[in-house]
């Protein structure tokens, strides 16, 4: 059971380049999330999805877009990367929000540097 898989693990971009981060989960979870982790700031929610075909903005959505075309995949896109987007990105998933279903399971992260 792979759980939550993120690709790539590392990436270096130049300012203005675009890229897509892929998150895949094999637990049949409805909810998926993208976070960024910066030193001393914990994890901040970028976008999330409550089901296939749906997306919603989190705390820090600017500069990012997402898509959930398939239940098992949640893509995070950077259309024009900026140095401020240098961070570690984590994807997570959960069954839902009800008691017993609200634990989020995390991928190993993608370390992104924008020069």
């Amino acid at each position: 059971n792979a759980g939550v898989t993120q690709t790539p693990k590392f990436r270096v971009l130049k300012t203005g380049q675009s890229m897509t981060l892929l998150c895949a989960q094999d637990m049949n979870h409805e909810y998926m999330y993208w976070y960024r982790q910066d030193p001393g700031m914990g994890l901040r929610l970028i976008h999330y999805s409550v089901g296939e075909g749906t997306t919603a903005k989190g705390e820090v959505p600017d500069g990012y877009n997402v898509s959930r075309l398939k239940k098992q995949n949640f893509l995070l896109g950077l259309e024009s990367a900026a140095p401020s987007q240098t961070s570690v990105y984590f994807c997570a998933s959960s069954y839902g929000v009800a008691e017993g279903k609200n634990i989020q399971y995390f991928g190993a992260g993608t370390r992104l540097s924008v020069l």
Partner: protein, 114 residues
Amino acid sequence: AQSVAQPEDQVNVAEGNPLTVKCTYSVSGNPYLFWYVQYPNRGLQFLLKYITGDNLVKGSYGFEAEFNKSQTSFHLKKPSALVSDSALYFCAVRDDAAGNKLTFGGGTRVLVKP
């Protein structure tokens, strides 16, 4: 709005001694509280959670946490720390009126010395 504070950036403890990692929270409704641990170059792993019921919650790897409503705290504890407990610990809160969005604290690095 919901928020979480972890007042200590780092906690140092000798192996075998008790470990406490502090967390306080603020929510408008009833809190759902979580602790996660992150080992180097890994994602976050769930340790334990409080939803309702007993104020003392037991979780993975011998960790427990005590919910204190009057002090709005949810401190993580372990009676006897191991070197392998050295990691980054995150407290998170979800307001039962805020849907599925977790708010994380800034994290506390725990260093357990032999």
